[in-house]
């Protein structure tokens, strides 16, 4: 379990975390979301007992991270945002090193991380710095799992990871949760956030939302429409939208345009296409919440 109470963090004149309180229960995945610079990595460093310079209280697996940091560390598997691997060691040597540091056996990784290890096993003798970015991330997670931790802190584990491997990672994360592990994972992939039990939305160091994915989607207060749109046609459609009442915002979404609107939007055809009402996803909520709060330039 992770418990944080009133965590504040100051970098010189800048307050990067403001009164952050939350819990991650046993067997629960909490996705940490927020814009770049929201304070996510700072929070990870504090929880991982790397940065003791904060105010407030936090415990990991029941151990206070300040007064019982050593015990807390034994419970934590941590994958920082930047690679934590030794580039000139092989895959097998990296695992053996981390296992040795915790006094356990690297051979257990096959049981501890079956989904990730199956794609790494063929690369045992490859030096870590010759692996592709996605493989490095998988190895970093395996190294964080060698001591069978009860709390997993993953800072953007899927950055630069291809969609198929991302799927494997989430199978692993789900399996760990089912074994009772508490997982705090930051991500910019909103499809991943939707797979977690709760979403913690950090904005400029403060918690804006802390709810289940369904709860967050349910809090959406606008109407959302989808319109087929190739990016080359955008300027033409933009001009047509400017004349429509009730349009609050719009943004490209693959081969469509998502339009947020209020009650006054009539839903009439735009450039000969009828906007289709759709349910918002987590990414729509994220964009909506951030757009409202970002400073206008």
């Amino acid at each position: 379990m992770i418990a944080a109470q009133g965590i504040c963090k100051q970098f010189g004149p800048r307050q990067v975390l403001k009164d952050v309180s939350f819990q991650v229960e046993d067997a629960q995945i909490v996705a940490l979301m927020g814009a770049n610079g929201a304070g996510k990595s700072t929070l990870f460093d504090i929880l991982a007992t790397i940065d003791p310079d904060f105010t407030g209280e936090a415990s990991i697996g029941g151990f206070d991270i300040r007064t019982q940091a050593r015990d807390a560390r034994c419970c934590i598997g941590y994958v920082p945002g930047r690679f934590s691997l030794y580039g000139d060691l092989t895959v097998a040597e990296n695992l053996a090193f981390f296992a040795g540091a915790y006094g356990c056996n690297a051979a257990d990784i096959e049981q501890l991380s079956p989904y990730l290890w199956r794609s790494l096993v063929g690369f045992s003798d490859f030096r870590a710095d010759t692996l592709s970015g996605g493989m490095k991330q998988k190895l970093a997670i395996c190294c964080a799992l060698v001591h069978n931790p009860s709390v997993l802190l993953l800072d953007e584990p899927t950055v630069g990871v291809d969609p198929v491997s991302r799927h494997d990672m989430w199978l692993e994360i789900g399996a760990l949760r089912d074994k009772g592990v508490s997982v705090l994972v930051s991500t910019h992939y909103l499809d991943e956030a939707a797979l977690s039990d709760r979403i913690l939305f950090l904005h400029q160091g403060e918690i804006l939302l802390f709810d289940s994915p369904a709860g967050i989607v349910g809090s959406y207060s606008h109407r959302l429409f989808s319109l087929p749109c190739q990016s080359a046609e955008l300027s033409q459609i933009e001009a047509a939208l400017a004349a429509e009442p009730g349009v609050l915002d719009y943004y490209l979404w693959g081969n469509t345009l998502h339009i947020t609107a209020d009650a006054t939007f009539g839903g009439a055809a735009i450039c000969g296409r009828i906007p289709v009402p759709i349910e918002p996803g987590i990414e729509d909520i994220f964009i909506d919440t951030l757009s409202e709060r970002r400073p206008r330039v």
Binding site: N36, V159, D162, I287
Partner: protein, 220 residues
């Protein structure tokens, strides 16, 4: 004439064939998206186009010196954002007045302006990307090569970055961009999907896949 012309290029690392007989071209104003699993050969191909790696066989011709944004951003940690831009722009041979105008024009739409005086080592990762992009485009190269420019960016910053990429293409720059975000595939004028070092599919995004998930069929 095409800005980039690649014909029958291969590259081997020891036993591992990273790029296997790849041919492609890039025209003015085109955005070519490179998709594929980790290890499919995207970065190796990109590094060969940037003349950082020599192909074992085949030909590569590129017009001018490409602007390159790599995954590990070569930024000077001790310098501020503004100083990094000035440092690189000076290396590229730009004049002081030119640098000032272009810095403003590039950093404002990326919303990097509030961070101009922050040291890079204290810059959140998403803003490092915006800075790397700014440096890649400041000399106005005819060809822009972006290796996963949006990975690690939040949903808003990602869309901001794509607006800039499309604006560059509209000015006539040829862009080669790799990504793992399948929705971004639709923002490209053409796609090349790599698998095991070879081209698994290429064409306009709408021709290749009606939905984002359909792209994955070429990955396996």
């Amino acid at each position: 004439m095409n800005l980039v012309e690649i014909s029958h290029v291969s590259k081997r690392f020891g036993e591992f064939l990273a790029v296997d007989d790849v041919s492609l071209s890039l025209a003015k104003g085109e955005i070519l998206g490179l998709l594929g699993a980790n290890g499919a050969g995207k970065t190796t191909l990109i590094r060969m186009i940037c003349d950082l790696l020599r192909p074992d066989c085949g030909q590569i011709s590129v017009q001018g010196r490409p602007g390159y944004m790599c995954q590990t951003f070569s930024l000077v940690e001790e310098l501020t954002v503004h100083e990094n831009i000035r440092f690189y722009a000076t290396l590229f041979g730009l004049k002081r007045a030119q640098i000032a105008t272009r810095e403003k024009a590039i950093t404002a739409p990326l919303e990097l302006t509030p961070y101009l005086n922050r040291q890079v080592k204290f810059l959140p990762s998403g803003w490092r990307q915006a800075l790397s992009f700014s440096i890649a485009v400041i000399a106005e190269p005819p060809v822009l090569i972006l290796d996963e420019p949006t990975s690690g960016l939040d949903a808003l910053s990602r869309r901001r970055m794509w607006k800039m990429i499309q604006a560059k293409a509209a000015e006539g720059t040829g862009v080669i961009v790799s990504t793992h975000y399948l929705d971004e595939a639709y923002y490209c004028s053409r796609l090349t999907i790599m698998n095991g070092g070879r081209i698994a599919a290429s064409g306009a995004p709408q021709e290749l896949a009606a939905t984002q998930q359909d792209f994955l069929t070429y990955f396996r």
